[in-house]
Assembly symmetry: C2
Homo-oligomer: 339 residues x 2
């Protein structure tokens, strides 16, 4: 836990685990961003307008960073990972655009969503454009293996999103069903982003598999923490909204745990709020109180730690290096940002 950075006021801020990784791939990310800006252009000006709205909105660019870092960790010295990292971000961005339409979200990372500004119709279509453009970029790269990885991941993401749609409002959802959803909708692209880095480096199979496992487990940990943060006052400090999942009736692990551990009265509360979407003033606070009572948030983070440990262990077969430490610290940060 020596890498945990205090975010409390007063102390000078040391770079957190993710920041160290970011600095390490900084040059590459500048070029990735240039490719992203270049390839989202179109004579149809609404496309770059809307795309830049979401792409400039200040996401962490975590997935393309992973592609660069994975290639780097395998000693890659070429240029292909730059364009492929941009592909990964385009696929992610297309997914976000469609997600926000599906969720009817108005805010993402504290900013108005593209669908709120430009309308659902444009968001659906520009998502399709970015997705197609990602495939054009991959085709230009010319590797059928990379195309196979990312087209498979894209299909799995869509399956995960549909699964999530089905479990929404269903308080009987099991922890395993929830894990299936986040493994597909989130972890599949993390895994693919890392795997592609190993593949362009022509790394030996065990290394490629290790990178895939690192990404997959990091992705699960990342989503678990995100879902915990949606009920945590920590999110307000990070400039994110709290209670979005609650409002939409999404069934995430904190809910699964609180529902199962709760009394019959409590379960009636969860059903009213999340199945019937009959929500009243103060309900979110009650939900947070119930989660506290049943340590649902803490245990969600505890589950995330489990996947974080698996991610770090997956990397163990790589020789020690500054970059390996940075990748491990990024896992740590992903989890500790919850505090």
């Amino acid at each position: 836990m020596s890498n945990v950075v205090s975010l409390k006021g007063g102390e000078p801020e040391k770079p957190n685990g993710l920041e160290i990784l970011r600095r390490r791939v900084d040059d590459g990310m500048d070029r990735v961003n240039a490719v992203i800006l270049d390839k989202m252009q179109s004579d149809v000006v609404l496309i770059p307008q809307l795309a830049s709205h979401i792409i400039a909105a200040g996401g962490k660019r975590l997935r393309p960073m992973l592609t660069l870092a994975a290639a780097d960790l395998c000693g890659y010295e070429g240029e292909r990972h730059i364009h492929l990292a941009a592909c990964v971000e385009f696929i992610h961005t297309a997914t976000l655009l469609h997600d926000d339409v599906v969720d009817e979200s108005d805010l993402r990372r504290g900013n108005a969503t593209a669908n709120a500004v430009f309308g659902n119709q444009a968001s659906v279509l520009v998502g399709d454009f970015l997705f197609s453009r990602a495939f054009e970029l991959m085709v230009a790269d010319g590797s059928l293996e990379v195309l196979a990885i990312l087209s498979r991941a894209s299909a799995i993401i869509a399956e995960g999103e549909v699964m999530q749609l089905i479990t929404t409002n269903d308080t009987e959802t099991t922890e395993d069903a929830y894990l299936d959803v986040i493994s597909s909708k989130t972890a599949a692209l993390f895994a693919a982003a890392c795997r592609v880095g190993g593949v362009v480096a022509e790394a030996p199979k065990p290394q490629v598999e290790a990178l895939d496992a690192y990404g997959r487990n990091l992705g699960i940990a990342f989503q678990l923490v995100d879902d915990a943060l949606d009920y945590s006052s920590r999110n307000a400090q990070l400039g994110k909204s709290v209670g979005d999942d609650f409002k939409e009736g999404k069934i995430t692990l904190p809910v699964v745990l609180a529902f199962r551990r709760g009394s019959e009265d409590e379960r009636r509360f969860w059903r009213r709020c999340l199945e019937d979407l009959d929500q009243r003033d103060g309900d979110l606070e009650v939900a947070q109180e119930l989660m506290g009572r049943h340590t649902a948030i803490d245990d969600t983070i505890e589950r995330a730690r489990h996947y974080g440990a698996k991610a770090r262990d997956a990397l163990e077969l790589f020789p020690d290096s500054e970059l390996k430490t940075a990748l491990n610290d990024a896992v740590q940060f992903t989890i500790e940002r919850a505090y």
Copy 2:
């Protein structure tokens, strides 16, 4: 005009141009349909449920038929065109699903749309799934050239859909702007479907280009006639709805022509109905009357004839054959179905 089939009662129905083409590729289409059914499967049962709703809804399967016919015309005797024709249909189906969400349509080909039955959210996500699945199928085929053709076409379709969104409700749209929209949203996939058939057959470049030109011009003619039919009582006979474009304020060529040729009073009518979407009982009938007064429907079909002639001339460098005649007759039918 000898191929024009009377659809009036009394006479025995001779097969129309499209029907002759369909019979010609019948065996192949059975296998394409089997691939479509197989590849739309998923453990997430809502996906095949929704996909089969739209795929079984009885579309003409015109695009995959074109891939088969194009390969056949170039003497292809392999199997690759079967899977690639299924890809083309998946891309088309994904586009339809997203289109119906964007247009907020309730009916397609006289049936309830997927979004009306399953909701917009599922339609967006299953569209994404089918699109990803199409790319997986292409990757399994293994041709980067085919991947380049269909990923490019997909990006162009998305651009066309965004252009259409922008021109919707804009009565000042020019004929050329309208042509840009339909060239992208419709003709690009017709062209790609035909081109892919030539590419798998390893046909010489002039033949591949001829097939592309045939598909592109046929696609434009097809869309022009579709847009004319939306204002024509002929559509009611075909079991299709009339006036959908009018209700949505879509600016198609019949509108462009009637608006430009109309008096200032008439333009005020078009602006009220299509820009302000302030529509009253009887407005559709007035619109049809104005189109009749300015021969806007007939002239739209006349424009379609121009592109149909280009499509047929593109095929002229192929030696005469039964299949070539069927492809020419399909163009004829595409246009003459307006009557």
